[in-house]
Point group: C2
Chain length 157, copies 2
């Protein structure tokens, strides 16, 4: 009966959802993405597009498969994303010289200028989140905890 009492308490605790890590994580992620989407509405940039542009800027010439791997998305789903960026004149595919099956990705000149603007907007968004968290030390602590969840995760594949 002692055991039942403990279980009952635990059940009530989890049923409140307040201590469920995945639930809180999802709600927080949605709130942060909503802020991102609102913030970047003017630049018409979605989170995935931001991530792709940032990745090309950090490593110009990367192949599509490498970016998909880095961002954890399927190569097939990267195609429309890059089509969009290419259509807006921000990025371009260049056929591989050695291996003509591959596409290396680069920012255009327009894309380079866009990155500057994107960064300025992003800084406002990120600063707002840091303030909500209570400062950069808290931000670092959060990133550290999230990294632990990621490091411990079973890699699918």
């Amino acid at each position: 009966m002692g055991r039942e009492a403990i279980d009952e308490q635990a059940v009530l605790q989890y049923l409140s959802m307040d201590f469920i890590i995945g639930y809180k994580l999802r709600r927080a992620q949605l709130a942060v993405f909503q802020d991102f989407i609102d913030t970047f509405a003017e630049l018409k940039l979605r989170p995935a597009e931001f991530a792709v542009i940032a990745n090309i800027a950090a490593n110009p010439g990367q192949k599509q498969a490498a970016i998909a791997e880095t961002l954890g998305i399927k190569p097939a789903n990267l195609v429309a994303l890059i089509d969009g960026l290419e259509g807006r004149g921000l990025a371009e595919r260049r056929r591989g010289d050695a291996d003509r099956r591959t596409h290396s990705l680069f920012l255009t000149e327009t894309g380079e200028r866009f990155v500057d603007e994107m960064y300025a907007v992003w800084r406002g968004h990120e600063q707002r989140l840091i303030e909500r968290l209570g400062g950069e030390a808290e931000r670092d602590r959060l990133i550290g905890l999230l990294d632990r969840l990621l490091e411990g995760a079973v890699v699918s594949g």
Copy 2:
């Protein structure tokens, strides 16, 4: 030029994606949900279904609108979810007595037994996450930080 140098450094930092809160949050949430999905594959329970059942169990008789509000989903999208639970004999709708437009939700006896099993499975999942984080104190710290992100968020509507 001093200013440019600073911006360039900041750009490189953010382009590495390592300090972007939303990005890390999304990756961690996906990793945690993947663990949840694998863990609950046997019970054939998705995160949203878990949340609905937990909510009914915590507050039997709640109306659909209230649950949708609590979980942050649209009433229209709750319909199929509850249809599924009702179809499996876990939950049931009861027409409101005072207001016959409303549906109050309850667990069936099967549902009550299912909750016990669900809790046992959930405890393994949550314990695994707590271990990844480094203990309950770290879990509490993470929840606290996520709450700050949620509290500071602009409520849509």
